[in-house]
Assembly symmetry: C2
Homo-oligomer: 198 residues x 2
């Protein structure tokens, strides 16, 4: 039996919805927006800042971090501070109780734990574009561009903090195409694996 | 309900064994070595040649193909001939009856079919190294090198014929870590999806 389920996901893939479906089915809490609040409490940073910077990075962020690693700047950046807080909150939560963690490199942070099932949810561009317009109410103009930007920034954040490739199968125990399989089937597979393994 | 299940797999991941477990469970044939015999019948090529060249490519093969595409050589290579035969046999089989196809870019060849479930099986290096020594009787000396070589050649073959990245989640409906999940659980997930979708 696993204790923790981490769900990485492409923007618009429904990974967050699947996490909530699993939470209902397994009777354990899911930390997604709730995670923001906890990180805000720990760090004193604003939730809007955490939402934006806690799993997305920009080109300027990447460059600043690259320079910082080479010792060009000796001070840790605000993003380094956020990362440290986020890591602490995730480790504490995983220690305290069985739960589901969405995004924020939780898979990487908890990679050494034997009782943690790590999943990644993705779907093709057309399916996700339709979904972000219909479900999230995003602008119907160029949703593909929005998806590409968002994926790119999540991938850059992941690469920056983990030195691994976001969405590469070897980082996860299973990767599911939510567009092809459907959200409910993804829930059933994840809950089956969560209960089976460990 | 799907009709076809394609299983791409890393060397030593147990993808072939999972295919046979699914075949028993679903009561449909699996084409793996049997595919070699059919391709040999169609092409007049030796099965040993097909086994080696039908999903692996070498650096020289890649260069020859690159040059051929640029028109430096006008004649199709022996590998082009094999690819055409292999493609035909896979399309014919998929047309004729529900079945399971292992490797050989079947996922790519059948990507337009709505009733085809496409899976990829992988596992970490240490698990696969142990398995190829214990199950395949491979030499216990440097099995990791053998795995890397074999993966690299399958990836090159896939890239060469499909212009896509072997093992990248978006090419498949689901990707499963057989080392973490176990072969039987992979079978159960695949059979569940095969019966559910379509």
């Amino acid at each position: 039996m696993n204790r923790i389920l981490t769900i990485g996901r492409e923007f618009g893939s429904g990974g967050r919805t699947i996490a909530h479906l699993c939470s209902e089915e397994l009777g354990i809490p899911v930390y997604d927006n709730e995670l923001l609040v906890k990180i805000a409490d720990e760090s004193g940073l604003a939730t809007a800042y955490i939402a934006e910077k806690g799993e997305n990075t920009s080109l300027s962020g990447l460059i600043a971090r690259g320079l910082s690693r080479q010792g060009a700047y000796s001070q840790p950046t605000a993003e380094d501070h956020l990362w440290a807080m986020q890591r602490k909150v995730i480790l504490d939560l995983a220690e305290k109780q069985p739960c589901i963690l969405v995004g924020r490199c939780a898979d990487y942070i908890l990679r050494g734990k034997a009782d943690c099932l790590r999943a990644f949810i993705y779907a093709d561009m057309a399916w996700r574009a339709k979904r972000i317009v219909e479900v999230y109410g995003e602008s119907a103009e160029a949703p593909e561009k929005r998806l590409r930007d968002k994926d790119k920034r999540r991938a850059a954040f992941y690469a920056c903090h983990t030195d691994m490739v976001w969405g590469a199968p070897h980082n996860y125990h299973l990767c599911l195409d939510s567009g092809a399989l459907g959200l409910e089937q993804c829930r059933d597979i994840l809950c089956g694996c969560y209960r089976h393994n460990g």
